[in-house]
Amino acid sequence: MQTTTIANLLLIITVVSLVTIFTRTLPFLFFSGDKQPSKYVLYIGNILPPAIMAMLLIYSIRFETPFKYPFGLPALISIFFVVLLHVWKRNNLISILVGTVCYMLLVQVIFIVK
């Protein structure tokens, strides 16, 4: 993967760091024990995480080619495997490790793209 210049990297890290600090500081700036955020903000905050995580799952496989060989099969098979393994064992380490090895084997040995 290509990376950008050092100055730009530092800029990107600074932005992500500052915005992260900002989101964590917000409640301490504006709310106290009896002053709560609006019902809408609370609703969005609670309902958003599963939607965002599903979006990020798709984002992480955005370079797969569904209409061209290997048709995203390595990713689909491996995700299916991770989910199955996780429902069965509920162990993050096993699911992530075995899933990654599965994908690496699939792209390196079975679905080889020339």
């Binding site: 809408y40 599963p50 991770v82």
Partner: protein, 227 residues
């Protein structure tokens, strides 16, 4: 704790995989310190995305942390000089630990909280450095190792699919992301997808609100009870 080292290692390995050395990986874990967002961020290191877009994505991905803070407003009040670090270090893992661990008798709660938060970040940075250094010594073909990120999100999604009171938001996220990817392409898909998700979830508020009302009350009650 072990979980933090392992996921940290995966992060370090992936940063190493982009061609940046362990110092960059360590710097990110030191200054950003946000699990999922750090993985998303690896995709931004190519410089293909604008800073405003990066800021927006960071805000939305980390938005849940705002709500962690709400639980701890009163708790952190008397922590003095330790308070800024406590706020900085309020990650998913630290929040969960602070909620589930009982302060031992005779130990100052503030100091105890501070140690938990600090230890967590030390584990996270250690994992990151181990992963990055391990990655630099690895001589085998690492093609496909980027799937670690997908596996991590698949695990988080599975957990939420099994435990969240409604599966509608997860499905909306999935559908919006697929549409946004096919319309706007791989590089620009995140922001349109985020807006579509928020818009649809807002429209569905009357239906979904009742489903998560129990979750919210239950989670906060459990956490407050522990404290």
């Amino acid at each position: 704790m072990i979980g933090y080292i392992v996921v940290g290692m995966a992060f370090g390995l992936l940063v190493q995989n982009t061609g940046l050395n362990f110092l960059w990986a360590g710097l990110i874990s030191l200054t950003v310190y946000a699990g999922s967002m750090q993985f998303v961020m690896i995709n931004f290191l190519s410089g293909a995305n604008g800073l405003l877009e990066i800021a927006l994505v960071t805000f939305i991905v980390n938005m849940r942390h705002m709500f962690y803070g709400l639980t701890f407003i009163n708790r952190f009040k008397n922590m003095g000089s330790k308070k800024p670090y406590m706020i900085f270090a309020l990650t998913d893992e630290t929040y969960a630990l602070l909620c589930s661990t009982k302060v031992p008798a005779g130990v100052d709660a503030g100091t105890f909280f501070f140690c938990i938060a600090l230890l967590n970040q030390i584990y996270w940075i250690s994992g990151t450095l181990i992963g990055a250094l391990f990655g630099s010594m690895l001589s085998l073909d690492t093609t496909g190792i980027e799937f670690t990120m997908t596996a991590l999100f698949a695990v988080i999604c599975t957990e939420q699919w099994l435990s969240f009171p409604t599966r509608i938001p997860a499905l909306i996220g999935l559908i919006c992301a697929v549409f946004s990817l096919s319309i706007f392409g791989a590089t620009n898909m995140l922001v349109p997808a985020m807006f579509a998700i928020i818009l649809i979830l807002t429209a569905l508020k009357p239906i979904l609100e009742t489903k998560i009302a129990t979750l919210e009350a239950e989670e906060i009650r459990q956490c407050k009870q522990q404290l």
